[in-house]
Amino acid sequence: MGKSSKDKRDLYYRKAKEQGYRARSAFKLLQLNEQFHFLDDPNLKRVVDLCAAPGSWSQVLSRKLFTEDPDKENTKDKKIIAVDLQPMSPIDNVITLQADITHPKTLAKILELFGNEKADFVCSDGAPDVTGLHDLDEYVQQQLIMSALQLTTCILKTGGTFIAKIFRGRDIDLLYSQLGFLFKRVICAKPRSSRGTSLEAFIVCMDYSPPKNWFPELDVNKSVTEFFEGCMVTKDESSNDILPAWVEEDRVIAEFMSCGGLDSYDSDATY
């Protein structure tokens, strides 16, 4: 059965249509916010939506920051930047960028748009194409998160929030452990609008506080792994003289939180 035919029967799909959202994913962000209230902060000004197409998260951000803000004065230095490989049709109050988030030039553009001011909130709902090789798919997804994180470390203010889509496979605890080096609190959250049968969940990383002696610096000649050297425990081979022996790496189980309340619709149910 095709994924699309399933989506059509989905209640969230219909609800998205009703409320004018471009995708059912909007409810994932809304339900995450119901739990963590990161979008309810009146001081929220600059936000970045990575891997944003078709744009339902950006729509949520636009409504939260602009439409629903009672204090219209407050909106003048607010800014939303949405980035995706795919083109996106315009959304009110959102600056869209068609770019690859893994490319260093993308960061430069975002920084420029913010006038070199830091962002308060970065989210990423990105997912690469799946091949069906479970380990490779999980790795590539984690690398996309690391790319998003790489950007994030260069633009997020200390104390800011980063959220990203994850797939809870066999090495997810490795990622949790790595995120622990950059954020004070890392939670794995599953909105009720995300299907229970899928491995999808979201990491909610709060209170950004990079290590004191580490200064993120984008370099086109460095890979993501090399970028995080000195911040995380990973070591690249150039610094070794032999191929390192296998070691059991640090793994941490992040706290799990279900979001969206039990009264919200169940995405696994047939209505």
Binding site: M1, V140, I172, G196, N221, S223, T234, I253, D268, T270
Partner: protein, 1005 residues
């Protein structure tokens, strides 16, 4: 806890010497491809899978996968169970690994386009990259032309192939043309070409010197994962998500200017999805492929020309020229029969011709004008007898010797038929054959002639009344009975020794129409078993009690029922390896298919089922003879030169549930069922010592991905899926050759919403009976309770109701204190308990294990309100099990959730109110780092086994107030989702764990 065996996706394969080395999970398996023997299985990585293998000219092997790499000598792989001490861990994913030309160095290309150069023992010699090109790769390969010149071809996610010079760290080409991610690229040995494949389903061939795109190969219907040049770079083989492997010829035109990629062959090699690995042995012209289904398949690339004598064809003109006698205008071949010496054919003018397969010559055997315009040819190849019949009931019998000399001919005219239009023959006993003559007139009787093999005398004649709507299509003789298959899915049984002139009839055996074969298989419990095939694809195994049967009633039962995956089914047989082989047509192809292990044996583009064709056994295999465009063609089908498979796979996609038939062992192990996302249910067997799996049957009755399968007693099994599909299966294991499985009943559905899933079910049996109470829970929050009656094979709905609006994931029926509780776990994290004792027409037997009929009126009642519900998990309870035996008046409930937690809740039944009191609980918040998918109690309910998506298997002691961890192990099965446990007679415990593949574990504490 110890893993005994692992069956799962095979990611890479390599020929070397007389061996195939296969990356199989974290192991390398070494096979002799001539004998098919497994030489050794060596563990190379702790957790990672072997994605690639390279072998050096001086006998070293490099294995890499994920971030792991290991180098050792080939003999280390043959001689050891593990080389884990050699495992190295890199910081980045290894996309490709290769030895240098002299074999002394190792190159490892990582997914960020960096190459690490080391020596054999792992000393790093250098690290190479190209500036500014450090984005992620899906694929890449390394081509060491010499010690100085090494090319890297890197497949990016943006449609480009980046070719760079390793030592110069310079870009040679950036090949652009593909759309989407590049999944493979490779350079030919002669340095002329680079071939690449991608998301866009095309293969592109590039000129390595100029970087020009030479040609594009289209054909695959899904993504392409791997490519290989072979036969001196003149051919390419490709493997894809579409389950096929294809061979492409590189055709260069005379002036060498234009190059074409032409698909020359296509092979269906794996099931459902994804072929990952491929290699070719050009000396023997065989390919080996590995796929997600865990199969290691050998494909003969020259199956039809291996000895040069496999195929042949003759036009009428060619035959005429050779015979040197004139044919009449419009004279054509009307019929044929193949023998070990060659072919006997008859023309439309009564010329009986012989083709000698040894001297390759046509001769005119005789001419008989009676067999001109209408003639049917049949025969018994093993007895060298050919039979001709015309529509006036003249028959001519010819007997040849082993080399094809005509020994004897006899002819007869059979009286009593107005017309004769059908003639079938079959071996009757050692000395005689049996012939059936049939007239188109329904009032004419059916005539059987028993004919002596040797002197061709008619020994006996039998005449039977012809039943209504009976058109014979096939015949089988068994003892004194003749079984005829007919249209309208009817079988007629004719007792040659009895006094009855009417046959015994089995009507409407399968949903299809024409029965295409009936053949005796074996005797089980003194009764014969027959395999029956139907043109519409259905096949059955039935047992018939011939002695007790009469024309009033046939005593038979269906042991096995199934349907082929596609096409028309013309016949089937069991081969000498106890595998069920089917054959027939799919569109214009004739095919033979190994049904037991689910792979195609051969296919021949013969134009389709409406052709005149026949498949003849000739002592060395089979010969397919057919007429296409009035030419006569033959194709010999021989035992393959090399084994067709080195390892049989299991499912092509995730295994969602496993159930072991625990009540009795079967052949040093147990039978078990697996229910898969690929919509099939398999019945297989595992050996308890080796962990080897034998496939028996793959059932295709479900049309949607499976949710559950479970043995409910010693011979009944239930499976369920979306579209409200729930089937009751009956397993017969009395035969020592193989078990059988048939659908016994189907649960009625209430809607045609394809997404409405039956998520789980549970049963409670009536005492000493196959009747039971069934509870089913649905994805629309509906709960139903049914009774199943063994006599009528019918389900009756007893209770129907709805919990709320959320999906229900699991259900259990538990009885304590003479009450029957239905416990269900929805996606809202609660455990919900209903008391249904007064809603069913049964009462509980004294031990509460069984039900007794209490003869209340059987009608559908609404589901009562739940008596209690309590929140245990934050989100869906994925799995749960219960124990009502360890403590009196108590149900222990164990749950595992999407929230990484497991819990134990103790429910006590209040003696007076019969209400439920939740008394104590234990909750482990971080039992896993990901969803907990399956839990199971074992060791007399003292221990709990648990699997989770993070690929850890954990065991907990559950005897106290808290859950205490005792053991944890990593499993190599990805998407770990199901498990079942069986305790052996020696009280040791075995467990099967399923996901993308399956593994067998032995537990001892």
């Amino acid at each position: 806890m110890k893993e005994i065996s692992h069956h799962g996706p095979g990611l890479c394969v390599k020929f070397y010497d007389e061996f195939v080395y296969a990356g199989y999970g974290p192991y390398i398996e070494q096979y002799n491809y001539k004998s098919g023997e497994l030489i050794n299985r060596c563990r190379v990585f702790r957790k990672n899978k072997v994605h690639g293998i390279s072998i050096s000219s001086n006998g070293y092997i490099l294995a890499y996968g994920a971030r792991s790499a290991a180098v050792c000598s080939l003999s280390d792989i043959s001689d050891n169970v593990s080389i884990l001490q050699e495992e190295r861990l890199l910081a980045e994913w290894i996309t490709c690994g290769e030895f240098s030309a002299d074999g002394n160095k190792v190159f490892l290309l990582t997914c960020y386009n960096k190459v690490i150069i080391s020596d054999i023992i792992g000393t790093i010699i250098g690290v190479k990259t190209i500036k500014g090109e450090r984005s992620i790769l899906y694929s890449g390969s390394i081509k060491p032309f010499s010690d100085e010149l090494v090319y890297i071809s890197a497949g990016t996610v943006m449609g480009g192939v980046l070719v760079w010079n390793l030592y110069e760290e310079s870009i040679v080409h950036n090949l652009k043309g593909h759309e989407g991610s590049i999944f493979y690229s490779t350079i030919s040995d002669n340095g002329k070409y680079l071939a690449s494949c991608s998301d866009d389903r095309s293969i592109r061939l590039w000129d390595l010197k100029t970087g020009a795109e030479l040609t594009i190969g289209w054909g695959h219907t899904a993504r392409i994962w791997n490519l290989k040049f072979f036969q001196d770079d003149r051919k390419i083989i490709s493997v894809s998500e579409d389950c096929t492997c294809r061979v492409w010829d590189i055709i260069v035109d005379e002036d060498g200017k234009s190059v074409l990629l032409q698909q020359s062959n296509i092979y269906e090699v794996h099931q459902i999805k994804n072929v990952w690995g491929v290699d070719v042995n050009s000396d023997h012209m065989i390919a080996v492929t590995s796929g997600n289904d865990g199969r290691l398949k050998i494909t003969d690339l020259i199956q039809t020309s291996r000895t040069g004598k496999e195929t042949g064809s003759f036009s009428i003109q060619k035959i005429q020229d050779e015979l040197d006698i004139p044919f009449e205008k419009g004279e054509i071949i009307k019929g044929f029969q193949w023998f070990s010496f060659g072919l006997i054919a008859v023309t439309s003018f009564g010329k009986i011709l012989k083709y000698g397969d040894v001297n390759k010559k046509w001769t005119l055997e005789l001419e008989d004008k009676r067999f001109s315009s209408f003639v049917i040819v049949s025969g018994i190849s093993s007895k060298n007898i050919a039979i001709f019949m015309n529509n006036k009931a003249d028959i001519l019998l010819l007997r040849f010797d082993a080399v094809g000399n005509l020994q004897l001919s006899s002819d007869y005219n059979i009286k009593g038929l107005k017309k004769s239009t059908n003639c079938l023959v079959s071996i009757f006993d050692r000395k005689s054959i049996i012939l059936l003559l049939e007239s188109p007139n329904p009032r004419d009787r059916l005539i059987f002639l028993k004919i002596d093999n040797y002197n061709l005398d008619i020994l006996q004649e039998f005449r039977f009344n012809r039943p209504d709507n009976f058109v014979t299509t096939c015949m089988e003789a068994f003892e004194d009975y003749i079984l005829l298959g007919s249209r309208f899915s009817t079988i007629g049984i004719f007792n040659l020794k009895g006094s009855d002139v009417d046959p015994y009839l089995i009507r409407k055996l399968t949903p299809g129409d024409t029965i295409t074969s009936v053949s005796f298989v074996e005797i089980e419990k003194k009764l014969p078993i027959f395999s029956v095939t139907n043109r519409d694809g259905y096949f059955n195994f039935i047992t018939i009690d011939l002695k007790r049967s009469s024309c009033k009633r046939v005593h038979f039962s269906v042991l096995h029922s199934n349907k082929v995956s596609k096409g028309f089914l013309e016949g089937a047989y069991i081969d000498d390896k106890n595998q069920y082989i089917t054959y027939g047509f799919k569109s214009s192809l004739f095919y033979m298919y190994n049904e037991t292990n689910c792979y195609e044996i051969m296919s021949e583009p013969c134009g389709g089922a409406h052709r005149q064709w026949n498949l003849f056994p000739d002592g060395r295999g089979f010969v397919l003879v057919y007429i296409k465009a009035s030419d006569l063609h033959y194709r010999k089908i021989r035992e393959p030169r090399f084994p067709a498979v080195l390892k049989n796979g299991l499912h092509g996609r995730e295994i969602r549930d496993i159930s072991i038939l625990k009540s009795q062992p079967y052949k040093n192990g147990y039978l078990f069922c697996t229910a898969s996302e690929d919509t099939t249910v398999r019945l297989s067997h595992f050996d308890q010592d080796t962990g080897d799996i034998t496939n028996y049957w793959l059932q295709r009755k479900h049309v949607s991905g499976l949710q559950r399968c479970k043995f409910i007693n010693h011979h009944l099994m239930i499976s369920c899926s979306a579209r409200e599909e729930l089937f009751l299966w009956d397993i017969d294991q009395d035969s020592s050759s193989r078990p059988y499985i048939s659908t016994r009943a189907t649960l009625p559905t209430s809607s045609d919403i394809p997404d409405l899933r039956i998520m789980d079910f549970d049963v409670k049996f009536l005492l000493n009976s196959d009747s039971f109470l069934l509870a089913t829970v649905y994805s629309d929050s509906v709960i139903k309770v049914w009774s199943f009656d063994e006599a009528t094979n019918k389900f009756a709905l007893l209770i129907e109701g709805r919990y709320e609006t959320c999906c229900l994931l699991n259900v259990k029926l538990e009885s304590v204190a003479k009450q029957l509780y239905l416990i269900t776990t929805p996606t809202d994290g609660h455990v919900v308990v209903y008391n249904i004792t007064d809603y069913i027409p049964y009462e509980l037997a004294d031990n509460f294990q069984f039900l007794l009929e209490n003869f209340n009126e059987c009608k559908t009642l609404p589901l009562p309100n739940y008596i209690t519900k309590f929140l245990v998990h934050q989100s869906g309870i994925k799995t749960f099990c219960t124990d009502s035996e360890s403590l009196p008046r108590t149900i222990k409930i164990f749950t595992g959730g999407d929230d990484n937690a497991i819990a134990m809740n103790i429910l006590k039944v209040d003696a007076d109110s019969l209400g439920i009191i939740s008394s104590s609980s234990s909750f482990i918040e971080d039992a896993a780092s990901s969803t907990i998918t399956s839990i199971s109690l074992f060791d007399k309910n003292r221990k709990l086994m648990m699997t989770s998506v993070d690929q850890l298997v954990k065991v907990w002691d559950v005897t106290g107030d808290d859950l205490v961890p005792i053991d944890k192990r990593y499993t190599t099965i990805a998407d770990t989702g199901s498990l079942d446990v069986v305790t052996l007679e020696d009280s040791s415990t075995l467990s099967l764990i399923g996901g993308v593949g399956i593994s067998l574990w032995k537990l001892a504490f």
